[in-house]
Symmetry: C2
Subunit: 343 residues, 2 copies
Amino acid sequence: MARSVSMKDVAQLARVSVGTVSNVLNRPSRVSSATRQRVEDAIDKLGWVRNESARQLRAGRSDAVGMIVLDISNPFFADVIRGAEAFCHEQGYLVHIGNSDQVQDRQDDLLRHFEQHRVRGVLLAPISSDLGLCDQLKRRGIPVVLVDRTTSGGFCAVGVDDVEGGRLAVGHLLEQGHRRLAFVGGPGSLAQVRDRRLGGDLALARVADAAAMLVVSTPTLDVASGLAAAGEIAALPDGERPTGVFACNDLVAIGLLQGFVAAGLAIPGDVAIIGYDDIDFAAASAVPLSSVRQPRFELGATAARLLFDEIAAADEQAAHSHSMIRLAPELVGRQSTAAGRAG
Amino acid sequence: MARSVSMKDVAQLARVSVGTVSNVLNRPSRVSSATRQRVEDAIDKLGWVRNESARQLRAGRSDAVGMIVLDISNPFFADVIRGAEAFCHEQGYLVHIGNSDQVQDRQDDLLRHFEQHRVRGVLLAPISSDLGLCDQLKRRGIPVVLVDRTTSGGFCAVGVDDVEGGRLAVGHLLEQGHRRLAFVGGPGSLAQVRDRRLGGDLALARVADAAAMLVVSTPTLDVASGLAAAGEIAALPDGERPTGVFACNDLVAIGLLQGFVAAGLAIPGDVAIIGYDDIDFAAASAVPLSSVRQPRFELGATAARLLFDEIAAADEQAAHSHSMIRLAPELVGRQSTAAGRAG
DNA sequence: GGCCTCCTGTGAGACGATTCAACCCAGGAG
DNA sequence: CTCCTGGGTTGAATCGTCTCACAGGAGGCC
């Protein structure tokens, strides 16, 4: 198409200088209303739209932050994104969303991309503790806030106390009388998986007559993994099969639920299930799923807030000390662990 | 932090001109290997990262496309995004994801933002037929492809035949012997809602002894809306209550399922339910949900392909005629409509 | 009337990467 | 020895916007 119209074209049509056009846009009070009107008319007439690249180049910064999640298909992250976006939008910032799919290379690619685009900051749900590229961003003056993570090494972080969450989940199963338990989740490289399991183990250690948790490791945290694990567990003979299963997240729990039902096991009669995240589908499942609720929206919003605090401190050359915010998980008991039928 | 390093710094350190640095990056064959090595060393040493704004300004174009979906929490769109992203990534493009949440103003904001950022094209799941801003983008040379939409007015479009899908869904209920049916969904401004319902009506018209569908309109297409509608339907007296319900999407269907169970109705014994989209949670639901499958991933990937065709045509100044691709929906029968018990 | 302000508006640089015409020099052909 | 060729490198111009020092004119004040 025709070369895109620039401020110069607008200036020409309005018979003013480009400087004046810029003033109309950025400090309208400095321009007389007659001139302003002429310029605005010219803008409308030509359909001029500001070129953000040029603006950013000149300003040396952008109006965007980047965000990387582990799995865009997981409704948990959808809500975290919503939270972050709500906050950023309020500040006039755009959020670039990236999906690492738990692949380190993909995460690194995205970080590089963000760096090239000179985002003001990054919200990262990290795959592993390998944060090499984050250090590079930090050195360049791009703050990084870790999301859904409670151990921070030189970064701000927001997370839910996963150890406590695991403790709640397993504690709940124990309270319902279950003594043979299983933990389903993976990979172990994810801090979430390790912490939740650890919490479970801690709860278990307080009860004398409970066996160690059977651990079924999965490659990812999705429905398919839960389904596969269900088959494995259902195949165990009656006396050995766990009566209570702690799934590392709700997707896995839903897979388990489906798998157990398909194998002819009753929920919670034969097996009780508790998930993690309390996504909407957990409650909506026909055997409503007990779960450990995380404040998803707040997680995203808080992370965004920390990020903007750090950005503001850098702008003002003020000191900034990294903070780590640990939100509290909450047990949500539903039918999938209802008492009265378990052995 | 220190002013970000530019190519000039690299050039200085490597004792060459900036032109040579640029050549190393963009046409390495033109540079002697000794020089190239020196430049690359300098880049590493300084940690230089290309400034994408400057590159884009000079090039007059970006390496990104924009995508706007109706509801980022709906797993249906998560998969559409995956499809689009897979294709774009292969072409070396980045996808900016935006969430309109079915709010026209939000959609327009996002379109304006994309225009300012000079994206190469836009994939849009439109809220209504009001595409005013899209025309503006088109005039500016930014092609727009409509996603999940089969009526195109001057745009390429990819969609699933929703009328056919509605026909399949209701046809299936009729085949199972149901004669009192309901349709749950809304708002009517969404083409998806209108078309699916129309398809249902068409199927119904072929059967002499079936009553007209009871239409329960909802404000949005989410779980909460389904729950509310379930209450409304469950309250009807036994002889009047529909025995088969067609939900406009799976989120609504899941809400219905939960609501009916809570009201003491058996699925599919008292009420059969069929949803739409066949998201993973439909199959994983403890009463596995019948649904109409849409090729979600393919939908996104195809839309991206059309977009790049149009971009390529524009680059080569070749003619481009808009195409409209209609993918076929597919009935997936599961337990929620299983036969043998319905009246 | 002269001088000082305030109000508008101007125009010349940046910002950082890319491109391209021009240049330099070594080596080969004549 | 001169001319030509071509690989390797340079430097300036360019993209569109923003900022800032400054100019011109109107009005106020002494």
